[in-house]
């Protein structure tokens, strides 16, 4: 068959194949100049090149898959040289204790497998010939002389044990048993023993996670939280089919298929979706909703549980450098990416951004990325920093003394990331919004007695920056609380996604659970209306007072997943209903529950909101709830909430629903301030530079701080909102503070006399009171630096610092370089007994999970050199900018310095090219 692209001209036949190779970065050095020259002159071939390149990117962009936890554990066990499971002290690796049986089975299976796998496939005859069982057996038999296999197995295990410094205990029996059982497999000869001796036991590799028992956990949560509060006899939801009598039975969480090996089939490694068991475990509802809800999640293929967000992120990664690749002809792939009706790959304009550059990127884009590491026309050093690393840079107070931003009360990122990690994935970088990590954790601030807000400030030396004189500044805002009795009646319009995708992982069941929880907290004069949407939207329930609870519950019972996702129509109808039944005396809110993958009607936040805002009446607030890991379109729901006067939360399991709808119902629904903005002004006499942690997309122009037309964050009753900075204190002040420098000497720039007891600046909060619709401002001075260390600082500051450290580690932030997981774990450990013990435990768990997923992969020489080049360029630009600022008298010295930078950059570039060339030769 002719492979020639019909669109190619006749003269291009000879280039046809080369175009493919060029698009794949597989062109030889001899062919390259010719094809490049040709591409420059021939648009048909450029199109072909673009298409193939895009096709290759599309092929590569599918969902990433990972081994299940069991399979990972199997590899870990193999790597650890079969450390006897029971010998590990439970405190160091609690997972082992419970999974010892599983582990020994794994070892046996593995040893069996290893016998088969002993030979290098390259040495083996092509597998096509002779892979029958007998052949395999024969191969094994000849590969090494038989020996006392059981003793060699035992000695191997003992070796492993001795190496890992563990006491030999009474499990020798099980060792020999193990050995003899696997004797056939152990005829692997001395060579493998040799190799095993050289292997150190793996510590941080994935180990078998104790068979998660969410059923028990969630059951407890429910009993704790609901058991007493659901009025006796109130069965919000009744059995809908013949499933009665099974109410309290919890579906075993084991694998349904009982598949062939520990590697496990569909879903084996994924912890069961807790909502399944919660559905069945409701104490007061014998039978739960529907037999379907009780289906074990393990019957799903793992890919069904994979996040759509992950796919998007992966695609975005794939396309990240595409901007660079399109130099020769632009737009084609871009059009493919943004074509109407086609999913948008990246939601952010990451093209040309260089962070997250990995070894996986192909050699072609690597070649080009080198040229991108320089200052672009019109780019300031700070802009360049963001393009290189995607983090806020340290800003010198010489250039900038203020920081202005809208408060972000969202917490979705934290629970989303938690869900990623618990399901065995590292979250994509864009899913990690550091400020939401901090806000998801409590600070236990006292509510203000007078006024709407109390502002708290803390300044402690930074533990994780790795720099001296750097402090963490924590600014906390606590909104006044409203007693449950004082609250106005609620008028809630629930907009519920009933599309087919909501069936996955029992998302819709989780929504039903959440609503039932919410209903228990409502008062008789509150009203609830329900709009559902799938392919079309419809009104399921007109506004109904909660006094008619059974009517509402009956409507909720009817929810059934089916069809596509017309979020647009659902929201429009929801707002229409809310507007029509607006209660001026009450709190009017639209609550959207969706997995966020709008695929019918308008599918972007802007388009949906444009539609909605037209019909909406002011005074209607919006809450969006992302449901289910699978394809939660985080960005869409966040943007909707952001622009629709509301907030976004992520429901990963029932306990999160309890938190949102039961414990924090006031802070979910009672807005006390709109457009809350914060401005921090630093004193340049004491602060040299600062960086804001997180809030990358919430910055507001300084001059807009008092422009009340600018939309910013909404704050609800009882909310705690936190903003964190790292500030670099003038070293003279710091020296004085530590009693090293004696009297403070004046700084070189002739600024004000440093005074360590002076406040480092001031913070102003500006907001619009919802009740009175007036704008108010409140101010507070920032603290002065002290010598206190992190250990002696308040627990809530330590917790925030740890949350930041974890988020930045996960983001692979430029600023996480000095953060070591072990130190982080230590600081978290110091919190394990205080009032934040459960939070610190959870952060530790997340850190451990992330470590197992390969947080901080080993970086290649190429990527490391690339980082050096980025740093070089950034520092050079800063020097250049400084030179421009200071004027001509210093230029000579600066020129000299810049020359040095340039020389270093040149040599780095050469190194990079040499590395590529070496690679090219090898490939």
């Amino acid at each position: 068959m002719s492979t020639l692209d019909p669109e190619l001209g006749n003269g291009c036949v000879e280039f046809d194949e080369q175009i493919t190779h060029y698009a794949l970065g597989e062109i030889s050095d001899t062919d390259r100049p010719r094809i490049e020259e040709h591409l420059l002159s021939c648009s048909a071939c450029r199109n072909a090149f673009d298409e193939r390149r895009a096709a290759a990117a599309f092929l590569a962009s599918g969902e990433p898959v990972a081994l299940s936890a069991e399979a990972g554990a199997a590899v870990a066990v193999a790597a650890a040289g079969a450390t006897p499971p029971s010998a590990t002290p439970p405190h160091s690796r609690p997972g082992w204790a419970r999974s010892s049986i599983a582990a020994s089975i794994l070892i046996m299976i593995l040893l069996g497998v290893l016998g088969l796998m002993e030979r290098s496939p390259f040495e083996a005859s092509p597998e096509g010939s002779g892979g029958t069982e007998t052949d395999v057996a024969k191969r094994e038999a000849v590969s090494s002389p038989p020996q006392d296999s059981s003793s060699s197995a035992a000695s191997m295990l003992r070796d492993a044990k001795v190496r890992s410094g563990e006491k030999s205990t009474s499990d020798s029996g099980s060792i020999s048993q193990l050995g003899s059982k696997s004797s056939r497999a152990m005829i692997s000869g001395p060579s493998s023993e040799e190799a095993l001796k050289n292997l150190s036991p793996v510590v941080d590799m994935p180990v078998v996670k104790p068979a998660a028992d969410p059923s028990l956990l969630t059951k407890k949560v429910i009993q704790d939280s609901l058991g007493t509060k659901v009025p006796a006899g109130t069965e919000l939801f009744r059995v809908s089919g013949g499933a009665s009598g099974e109410g309290d039975r919890v579906q075993p969480t084991g694998r349904a298929s009982g598949s062939s090996t520990a590697g496990g089939a569909g879903g084996a490694g994924l912890p069961p979706v807790p909502s399944d068991s919660t559905v069945a475990a409701r104490p007061s509802s014998p039978g739960a909703y529907d037999a379907r809800a009780r289906r074990a999640p393990s019957s799903k293929k793992p890919e069904a549980l994979r996040a759509y967000g992950e796919i998007l992120a992966d695609s975005a990664r794939t396309f990240k450098n595409r901007g660079l690749l399109l130099r020769m002809s632009e737009g084609k792939v871009e059009r493919a990416r943004r074509a109407p009706g086609k999913p948008v790959l990246g939601t952010k304009p990451t093209d040309g951004y260089l962070y997250g550059y990995s070894d996986r990127d192909d050699s072609y884009s690597r070649r080009i990325v080198i040229d991108q590491i320089r200052c672009l026309p019109g780019e300031t050093p700070n802009m360049m920093f963001f393009r290189f690393w995607g983090d806020n840079p340290f800003l010198s107070t010489l250039d900038e003394t203020m920081s202005t931003f809208g408060l972000d009360v969202d917490t979705a990122s934290y629970s989303l990331v938690r869900n990623y990690l618990r399901k065995g994935h590292l979250p994509p970088r864009d899913a990690i919004r550091t400020e939401e990590f901090v806000n998801a954790l409590p600070s236990n601030y006292a509510a203000p007695i007078n006024g709407d807000f109390a502002i708290y400030t803390d300044l402690v030396p930074s533990e994780f920056s790795g720099e001296q004189n750097v402090y963490v500044l924590k600014i906390g805002v606590k909104a006044r609380e409203i007693a449950a009795n004082d609250r106005k009646p609620l008028s809630l319009t629930l907009v519920i996604d009933e599309s087919g995708s909501m069936q996955q992982g029992s998302r819709l069941e989780l929504v039903k659970q959440s609503i039932s929880t919410l209903l228990t907290q409502l008062k008789p004069n509150d009203t609830v209306a329900i709009v559902t949407f799938s392919t079309h939207a419809s009104q399921l329930l007109a506004p109904t007072p909660v006094s008619e609870l059974e009517k509402i519950a009956a409507a909720v019972r009817q929810l059934k997943p089916d069809g596509s996702t017309n979020l647009d129509q659902g929201m429009t109808l929801g707002y229409e209903l809310a507007t029509r039944h607006f209660r001026p005396e009450g709190i009017n809110r639209v609550l959207v529950f969706s997995d966020g993958v709008a695929n019918t009607g308008r599918t972007t936040a802007d388009a949906i909101l444009a539609q909605v805002l037209e019909r909406r009446r002011s005074g209607i607030f919006l809450n969006t709830y992302g449901v289910g890991m699978g394809n939660h379109n985080d960005a869409l729901l966040e943007q909707l909430a952001d622009r629709g006067d509301g907030q976004c939360a992520y429901l990963d399991d029932f306990s999160e629903a309890v938190k949102l709808f039961q414990r924090n119902i006031m802070s979910s629904f009672m807005t006390i301030a709109k457009d809350a903005k914060v401005q921090v002004a630093f004193d340049r006499g004491i602060v040299r530079s600062f960086r804001q942690i997180g809030y990358e997309n919430r910055a507001i122009a300084h001059q807009d701080f008092r422009n009340d037309a600018v939309d910013a964050g909404e704050v609800n009753a009882g909310h705690e909102v936190v903003a964190l900075y790292e500030v670099e204190i003038d070293p003279h002040v710091a020296a004085h503070l530590h009693g090293l420098g004696g009297a403070p000497s004046a700084p070189a720039s002739g600024g004000p006399q440093p005074n360590p007891s002076r406040s480092i600046g001031q913070v102003t909060l500006r907001y619009r009171q919802v009740d009175t619709d007036t704008v108010a401002e409140t101010q507070r001075a920032l603290p002065s630096p002290t010598t206190a260390n992190l250990e002696s600082s308040p627990e809530h500051v330590r917790l925030s610092a740890c949350a930041v450290a974890l988020a930045e580690l996960l983001r692979a932030s430029h600023w996480s370089k000095a953060t070591t997981p072990s130190r982080l774990r230590e600081v978290l450990g110091s919190l394990s007994t205080g009032s934040f013990s459960s939070e610190s435990r959870e952060l530790t768990e997340l850190l451990d999970l992330a470590m197992r997923q390969g947080l901080r992969p080993v970086r290649s020489a190429f990527v490391q050199t690339l980082e050096q080049l980025k740093l070089n360029r950034y520092h050079a630009e800063k020097v250049r900018a400084l030179g421009e600022k200071l004027g001509t008298e210093t230029t000579a010295g600066l020129q000299e310095q810049l020359k040095k930078f340039e020389q270093q950059a040149k040599s780095l570039e050469e190194q990079l090219r040499a590395l590529l060339e070496k690679e090219g030769k090898k490939g």
Binding site: T3, T20, L24, E26, A48, R52, A54, A55, F58, L59, A60, G62, V65, A66, L67, A71, G72, A74, V75, A78, L116, E118, S120, P121, F122, P126, E127, G128, G131, S191, S192, A195, N198, L199, S200, V203, D204, M205, S257, S260, A262, G263, G264, A265, K300, K301, E303, A304, G341, P343, S501, N599, N631, Q853, G854, P857, V858, K918, K922, G923
Partner: protein, 184 residues
């Protein structure tokens, strides 16, 4: 292979024979996705058997007594082992007829049961399924496995020239298919 280049091999660290913990984590993290997807292609979409094959490949790597046997490319080695395991599975279950040197995929890849896999991904999958299995295999190795032509040649036991031709035919066909489907 007489001239071995150990450039990227995790075993090549001086004074070290075994596979370090970090290297292993890094290798698993880097290759698991590509290997699993590849194994699924070979095994007609069977995710569970694909995982078995990949797991065995990693275990084999861990137990590989002679580091040099992985030659210069751990990736190629892993893909090769995975392929062999997958072909063994196919053979053992006599589920499909198998011709020498070619991966037979008898049934189309099971369509993903999830509802929301985007239209685009379905198109790609559809186009991929229309390809000759030999084209599909090299294309998957190239784009998802990120292997070089030379590594692919080693994995599939063919010549470099054959690989480059197969890849070209495959990619050109996919590009055509995607254009016809209005994805490109």
């Amino acid at each position: 292979m007489s001239s071995r280049e150990l450039g990227d091999s995790p075993f090549s660290e001086p004074g070290r024979n075994g596979l370090s913990e970090e290297s292993l984590s890094a290798i698993v993290a880097e290759h698991q996705s590509g290997l699993l997807r590849y194994a699924r292609q070979v095994l007609g979409g069977d995710a569970s058997r694909a995982e078995d094959a990949v797991q065995e490949a990693f275990c084999a790597l861990v137990r590989q007594p002679d580091p040099a046997a992985t030659l210069d490319s751990v990736a190629a080695w892993l893909y090769r082992v995975t392929r062999n395991r997958a072909l063994d599975m196919i053979r053992k279950e006599s589920r499909m007829k198998h011709r020498e040197g070619q991966v037979a995929v008898a049934e189309p890849i099971a369509p993903d049961e999830s509802f929301e896999i985007a239209e685009r991904d379905r198109e790609i999958q559809r186009v991929l399924e229309t390809l000759d299995p030999s084209l599909r295999e090299v294309l998957v190795l190239k784009t998802q496995g990120n292997l070089s032509y030379r590594e692919i040649a080693r994995v599939t036991d063919t010549s470099l020239a054959t690989v480059s031709q197969l890849v070209h035919r495959g990619l050109a066909a996919v590009a055509r298919g995607l254009r016809a489907a209005d994805v490109l």
